[in-house]
Symmetry: D2
Subunit: 331 residues, 4 copies
Amino acid sequence: MVQGIVNWSTELNEEWLQNYVDDWVAFYRKHTKDGEVASYIPKLQEANPHHLGITIIGNNGLEISSGDVEIPFTIQSISKVISFIVACMERGVSYVLDRVDVEPTGEAFNSIMHIEMNQVKKPFNPFVNAGAITITSMLNGNTSDEKLASILNMLEKMLGYRPVLDVDIYESERDSSMRNRAIGYYLLETGLLESDLNITLETYFKQCSIEISVHDLAKIGLILANDGFDPQRNEEIIPRQIARITKALMLTCGMYDASGKFATYVGVPAKSGVSGGIIAVAPPRVRDEAMPFLSGCGIGVFGPSLDDKGNSVAGIRLLRHIASQWDLSIF
Amino acid sequence: MVQGIVNWSTELNEEWLQNYVDDWVAFYRKHTKDGEVASYIPKLQEANPHHLGITIIGNNGLEISSGDVEIPFTIQSISKVISFIVACMERGVSYVLDRVDVEPTGEAFNSIMHIEMNQVKKPFNPFVNAGAITITSMLNGNTSDEKLASILNMLEKMLGYRPVLDVDIYESERDSSMRNRAIGYYLLETGLLESDLNITLETYFKQCSIEISVHDLAKIGLILANDGFDPQRNEEIIPRQIARITKALMLTCGMYDASGKFATYVGVPAKSGVSGGIIAVAPPRVRDEAMPFLSGCGIGVFGPSLDDKGNSVAGIRLLRHIASQWDLSIF
Amino acid sequence: MVQGIVNWSTELNEEWLQNYVDDWVAFYRKHTKDGEVASYIPKLQEANPHHLGITIIGNNGLEISSGDVEIPFTIQSISKVISFIVACMERGVSYVLDRVDVEPTGEAFNSIMHIEMNQVKKPFNPFVNAGAITITSMLNGNTSDEKLASILNMLEKMLGYRPVLDVDIYESERDSSMRNRAIGYYLLETGLLESDLNITLETYFKQCSIEISVHDLAKIGLILANDGFDPQRNEEIIPRQIARITKALMLTCGMYDASGKFATYVGVPAKSGVSGGIIAVAPPRVRDEAMPFLSGCGIGVFGPSLDDKGNSVAGIRLLRHIASQWDLSIF
Amino acid sequence: MVQGIVNWSTELNEEWLQNYVDDWVAFYRKHTKDGEVASYIPKLQEANPHHLGITIIGNNGLEISSGDVEIPFTIQSISKVISFIVACMERGVSYVLDRVDVEPTGEAFNSIMHIEMNQVKKPFNPFVNAGAITITSMLNGNTSDEKLASILNMLEKMLGYRPVLDVDIYESERDSSMRNRAIGYYLLETGLLESDLNITLETYFKQCSIEISVHDLAKIGLILANDGFDPQRNEEIIPRQIARITKALMLTCGMYDASGKFATYVGVPAKSGVSGGIIAVAPPRVRDEAMPFLSGCGIGVFGPSLDDKGNSVAGIRLLRHIASQWDLSIF
């Protein structure tokens, strides 16, 4: 890595920053060997475990990309952020939060026990599978394509283009995710589903199979960093209250059962997915006066080699390093 | 309450602000009837359930107090914040976090199950009793008075005076808290305690019995809001990294199993205790440019009537209202 | 009730015995008001909560029936006894018990948690739903009708006639039991199912819907009391080892999470179902020399008003009374 | 092992039987290497893992001993059987069972979770530590020696001599068993203890440290096999109802979380302890007509090498073999 003490508050030229990020990506790429790619569906297992890429888009116009940023991947659990936002916009925040709680939990990410153990009989939060499936069932539309359109419309507004599905992944998830079907029937039993189960699950599998890039994740992060406002097109995409609640949820529940550690050691709202993507959100802060080259940013990371919590093993370390170097923590 | 639309960004004179806060305290005082004072030790049960008081100390010198701010009360679980900070300063952050995890949990605040269910055999976080007792066992000193001195020294540095114990409460807790003794023996069994059990528990009961005021809580909150720096005496009290980790923990785990809801609906790092105290921390933010009368603040609340999670029932609602009116959320 | 001290070891004529049983049924019928009929499917809810009937068939030829013995009802969970026996006969005991454990559990009868919490990843026992569905998946046959035939063949051998399905109940269960579908998909995820899920569930819903009478239950009980040998037709129906393992399972796991209490207070192998049926097995014992009028017996009970564990509220008390009076406990 | 097909119903001379048992002990002694001696206190760890001994005392006067029957050992958890019997005799069965439930559980033997998870707030059964400590607190006496005397009196009546404590083991348990102290304080918190905690725990540690032999265990087993009646001295030691409830509890909860497997594969009431002792009870049955050389028996086993459930690894296999050969199962 580039040696020496860096005073980030000094204005750096873009080339220098790019060099630093390139160095860090090169360094943390070695950490990809400490994890494994997701294996529960064959298509995900084909991912190259050595891949690591990052895009950072700052509020001041700076954009840095480094590593394997050209590889498209499926959005997976990061779609839970989008469906939560859309459901809140379509139904109202209180409608959604009356049906899904917002408490983090120390348990593993896809446990059925979650639902059973919360005495108020609501899924623990929108980012456990039970909560996410419940939220998908609330989306407008009578078919899975209509429901999916709600999500794709939001993504199109955010990204400026309409993402497509990876049909292989979708079919693979649809045919193999027996645990999500189990959760679905459990939700049906407890009366939490607001749509037909098959339509809900089909939508859920489709939303997880949306193809995305690290640049897309960084752009979504930038919008969230600005409380739902897109500074590049000068337009509010998400109502402010919903954007902020979403960030609170990402901070407390976004990284599976490593959420507490991520909040403590990295300190920014984030959400990961089993394909290796992470979206991270660094809002502008008073301290950013000391870092004029960013002044708030969105970050997209891709690194399909996962740790035992289901998070990108190198991605998390890279984010921790950057957050520490550039003092991105919201705390 | 004072009617009309308020534009808080307009500079308000201090009298107006005081009037608003007085109104809110009067309004939320009615909510004290929705809870009950803690009953597990007789002395706590003597608290007046109708009490509600608040002090807000802003970075810009503004200080507002309203309601029952003259009533001293014991710090209880809020002392876990202080002992965590002291242990990190005495032993180093990584030493402490190697022994106590930082994951929130959906379970009730004093459950022994916490320890058993975390596979790595560490208490879930420093704010569940098992974690707090483990941390107290790490404090410097060979006697409970020496260990307590570590905490009192820190409080004296923060507050400018050395708080005293409420001896009745201390003796009451020492003689009645069988659950904490159970937890203590469990920790001894698992090898987590770093001091003699009786000395550790004695220290723990003493630290919970330190007498404090809402003004004290607001002052501690102000120091945390400034990353450990006391703006009033121009002095660093807590190393920056430790102050920020503490805030991350408060946000994810500070309000028992309502922590997720507090993060979502109020959005500031906070810690509550069963005597009815809450400390809340609103760091300065870019958005505060719109609220020059505060520019970051510490808040102390006291309201001994508790909800079923163990948090001040009126205090939480008052904080939610203020955070919403003045846009204090860190998200 | 018939008053006076009774010396049951004195030979009583059949009329006297009948009078006693009639008295007891009349007395415990009043207890039917302490429970409620199962409500999870409409057809079950139509049951008359005041019904209570019993048939006792002794090894020595004595047969006593009293109360509502003419009402047919569906076998429900009692079918788990039959499917377990058939699977053991078709596959071998060790094949079956390699895939389903035999440990009782303090948890509720249909919990999904059961599967997750047993570290060896097997359903806790053949009588929790997860275990029963796994066992149904092992039955011979490629269709649900072929699999069901295995069960009906066994029942025909035991009863001398081929029972029929209550099609309304079957369709109702098939269309409403979302929890069993949830369990089914969970089993599919964990690789425990040995047949197609839909065929397995269809079979399971059919086997639960077999129509039966208290006399039938008493007859099955008599065969189990004789270690699988039918004393009336002088023929072995179930291999001895399988019959005895079945009784051990009934004793430890047969009455949902009241199994321990039933073993302690009644003391005979038994299995209940949500339609209100109970099958109880009292093997011949040395002590029966003192009770020559029975010398081992099978008992069938029907009382659709259920307690909060899912067992016939009056049926359990009637069985406890009879077991105590006639000293039926195997202990 | 002795070869050939054995017809046990043929009267065998005592020498032959002795030869068979000697063979089996020699064979299963090899299995001692599949386990480990208890290590939680140093004194227990000194046990010789290769030891295996058995004594069988039949109702007809036959007594067979084989292997390491001369080694004294501490009674440990088998004392829970005695304290339960004594408490029922002193307080009445319903008093005891109102305070401790009788449900088996799939959980490990000394879990604190047991208490918390049973909604009625009673320990799951008298043989988990929480239940046993609660029962010890009910024993007559104001000091631990007085309470212990209740247990020693009962043992003296059963055995014809008054056993002594292994003081080293007692002191070791007293000083090291932090988990039992944790359970004790938890019971104190929930109001379940009926005596001073320290006196209760002292009694509990003493009762576990009573020195015993396999012959003693066999004799106690014989008395239980005869419903509390000692056939050798022609005297009732335990009331019949209590003896039978005790056997029901042993069958459903006696072998930690292998109780279900032991009931299924061996089929007799039994209780084990971590020093490697097992007491097994085979009541006389109709089938015993075929085995006149026993006609009901008590069995004591000692084999300090334990399996992962805490049961004597070779002892369980030896018992299974004997129960199968001689058809001892009560089912």
